[in-house]
């Protein structure tokens, strides 16, 4: 467009106004959209300077110049910190996707969001954020385990957690199914069916490899910058990234999300770090583990002990005190009993004292000395020792103290608000690094997605950490939603709690004559709340599949009457929840036999 007469002077005048005023609005006094734009800035307490073009003699000429400068002829024509924003619609959109804040801030960063940790939560959050048109980077770096195991993008769940665990659990279930198959008429030529650890391990690792690859392809396709680097805060908007070759790069970002997850904890006893493995190593172990000791009574320990026993290994669990701390203790003890009845040995109450290597090899041979609570020493030899006594958050050595992110001084978990904001306002945290939140993949994913939406859209929905369902994949699976019985009694008082319970026998178990009275279900209800169900617990095959569906009912506040009013699907295990009529208080026998 050719220069308009005198436009150079007008251009200088406009530039001057734009540079002098944080928010500069070229407006017309009667224009409703101009009023709306002004109201918008008033509503967020931001001062603006407005020039009413209809009140100026050279108004039309200014409008021409603005068009030449910005391509926009209409009013309002808004500039923030020297940058052209646009009309009312652009301003409103910028407010909604939070870019208005960024423009008002006046700072510019390399990224809008840097996510530290490429696990389930971090990836979900990064992928959600890019959907809203912001610039996102994700850092992921796996420090090798003390045994040297390392893995690709995707975090604990995919590489050394849920995924390989469930697949090994499935391998163990198939072993039982082969046994059951004979009762169903399958004639197996080879009476002694053997399991090959390496075949299973390779198939699982191949699957994990394809997931790692797909995550990388996905990040690249969605234009999330992926860095296989270790992040360390320099200040609250700047992070130092070091890759495995030691190359250092700095990145700045408006927001950060801490999603580093956790790693297994080693007890501080001689020989532990040198000779024991953890869940970080087990799923890619290149050789069959042989005679195995699992130290700890966490769900990780019991799950590993469970599938290893079913795969034919001689397995012992060393338990300090209770099983499955934090879970319903009646259910926990039932799990322990079932495992013990199916060949897993338990030493309890006992703590490990020292571990010595007797022989190198794959597997090697180790002597484990333990001390029973009464002081008795127990000594035995094992080929593999799996430590599963808990997990610590990866919050050390990344400069959280530099930027003032408060962590629990004892445990290292990050302290955050119910909106996952830490004590450093532009730094958030999700997943297993958070104090007092369930350490579960789907929780991290949900929190990550919702957080990204809140940061970059006008959304306000926060992650609901209450009534999170979960399942322990021990040989007999345990699914739970809501409160353990002891927690319910503690909160409401014994007198206000009614527990409905029942054993059940899966139809599929009848032909092979599997044991009766091990599968079990209970509903924990509050009498004074019309028997609202506040805890659902089930022990049996496919407990995860059963529990998931009931989650919606519990979240919607279902009462015992609602469960009674639901019609079962026959023949299933889940239908037991529609027909429960025996209360624990009544003391009536709940044993079952047949259909």
């Amino acid at each position: 467009m050719p220069p308009i007469d005198g436009s150079d002077g007008l251009k200088a005048m406009i530039e001057d106004l734009v540079n002098k005023n944080r928010v500069m609005i070229f407006s017309k006094s009667a224009c409703p959209y101009c009023l709306k734009a002004k109201d918008l800035f008033k509503s967020i307490n931001v001062e603006y300077h407005a020039v009413e073009l209809d009140k100026l003699d050279n108004g039309p000429a200014i409008q021409d110049t603005l068009q030449a400068m910005t391509g926009q002829r209409t009013v309002p024509n808004t500039f923030i910190n020297g940058k052209h924003l646009g009309g009312y619609d652009s301003t409103l959109k910028a407010k909604e996707n939070k870019t208005l804040e960024v423009m008002l801030d006046g700072e510019s960063y390399d990224y809008d969001l840097v996510v530290i940790g490429g696990g389930s939560g971090g990836l979900a959050c990064a992928k959600e954020a890019v959907k809203h048109g912001v610039k996102v980077a994700c850092l992921d770096f796996v420090k090798p385990s003390p045994q040297g195991t390392t893995w690709g993008l995707g975090g604990t769940c995919v590489n050394v957690g849920c995924i390989p665990k469930k697949l090994m659990h499935q391998a163990s279930i198939l072993g039982h199914s082969i046994e059951d198959a004979k009762s169903y008429g399958w004639e197996l030529k080879d009476e002694k069916v053997k399991h090959n650890w390496e075949t299973m391990k390779n198939a699982i690792q191949d699957h994990i490899g394809s997931l790692n690859w797909n995550y990388r392809v996905e990040l690249r396709s969605k234009e999330v910058t992926y860095q296989n680097s270790y992040g360390e805060f320099i200040d609250k908007h700047k992070i130092k990234c070091t890759n495995k070759r030691g190359k250092v790069q700095e990145m700045t970002s408006r927001y950060f999300i801490l999603a580093m997850g956790g790693r297994p904890r080693y007890p501080d006893i001689p020989g532990c770090k040198e000779y024991c493995i953890t869940s970080d190593d087990l799923f890619s172990l290149p050789y069959a583990p042989g005679k195995t000791l699992c130290i700890g009574a966490s769900y990780v320990s019991l799950e590993c002990a469970g599938f290893l026993t079913s795969l034919g290994f001689d397995v012992t669990v060393m338990v300090r005190s209770i099983l499955l701390r934090g879970f319903d203790q009646q259910m926990a003890e039932e799990i322990g009993k079932y495992m013990a009845d199916h060949g897993t040995k338990f030493i309890r109450p006992c703590v490990p004292v020292k571990i010595e290597r007797l022989e190198e090899g794959q597997p090697g041979r180790y002597r484990v000395t333990g001390k029973m609570q009464d002081g008795t020493e127990v000594v035995d030899e094992y080929n593999t020792i799996v430590v599963a006594v808990g997990r610590d958050p990866c919050t050390k050595g990344i400069g959280l103290d530099t930027v003032g992110v408060d962590v629990d001084p004892k445990t290292g978990f990050v302290l955050a608000s119910d909106g996952e904001q830490t004590s450093c306002p532009n730094i958030y945290a999700i997943g297993d690094v958070l104090k007092g939140r369930p350490e579960l993949t789907p929780v991290a994913i949900q929190a990550g997605r919702l957080l990204a939406k809140r940061l970059f859209t006008s959304a306000t929905l926060k992650c609901d950490y209450v009534n999170v369902p979960t399942t322990v994949f021990t040989p007999l699976e345990y699914g739970a939603i809501g409160m353990p019985e002891e927690v319910a009694i503690d909160k409401f008082g014994q007198g206000d709690i009614e527990v409905y319970h029942s054993h059940f026998l899966p139809l599929e178990w009848t032909l092979p004559h599997r044991e009766e009275n091990v599968c079990y279900a209970k509903l924990i209800c509050v009498k004074s709340l019309k028997e609202k169900v506040i805890g659902l617990h089930v022990l049996g095959p496919n407990a995860g599949e059963i529990t998931q569906g009931f989650t919606i009912g519990i979240k919607l506040g279902a009462t015992k009457a609602d469960f009674d009013n639901a019609i079962g699907i026959h023949p299933t295990c889940a239908e037991i929840f529609t027909t429960m009529n025996i209360t624990k208080n009544s003391g009536v026998d709940i044993s079952v036999s047949g259909c």
Partner: protein, 122 residues
């Protein structure tokens, strides 16, 4: 050094991977040319991009360009490219690293960055 080998059909492809099992083997499965013309437009777009990326590799690498036959043969759901458990191809072009769970399909093969990522060492 990159060695490029052009093969036609499933059996030739499998023989060539076996002969080169000690090297890094990459395979691009693409439409076979009928009368010098490809029947798969995505393949035509991907081929030069993959070739350009491959030519930059310097280590012991074998690159197999495998024609999967004419359109009719490929569309048959029981052709060995689709059924063999090592391949289980779903589309052409497919670029993969032999023996590894890394593969790119269709227009991903025409994305220079993705192809370079697939060619990176593990």
């Amino acid at each position: 050094m990159v060695r490029q080998i052009v093969v036609e059909g499933f059996d030739n492809c499998m023989r060539t991977t076996e002969e080169n099992k000690n090297s890094n083997v990459y395979i691009l499965f693409s439409s076979s040319k009928v009368n010098g013309k490809s029947w798969c437009p995505d393949c035509v777009v991907a081929e030069p991009i993959v070739e350009e990326c491959i030519s930059k590799k310097s280590d012991d690498t074998v690159f197999i360009f495998c024609g999967v036959g004419d359109r009719e043969f490929w569309k048959n759901a029981s052709n060995p490219f689709r059924t063999d458990s090592r391949l289980k191809l779903k589309s052409v072009p497919t670029l993969l690293k032999w023996g590894k769970p890394k593969r790119l399909e269709e227009n991903q093969c025409a994305d220079k960055e993705l192809v370079a990522m697939l060619l990176e060492e593990d």
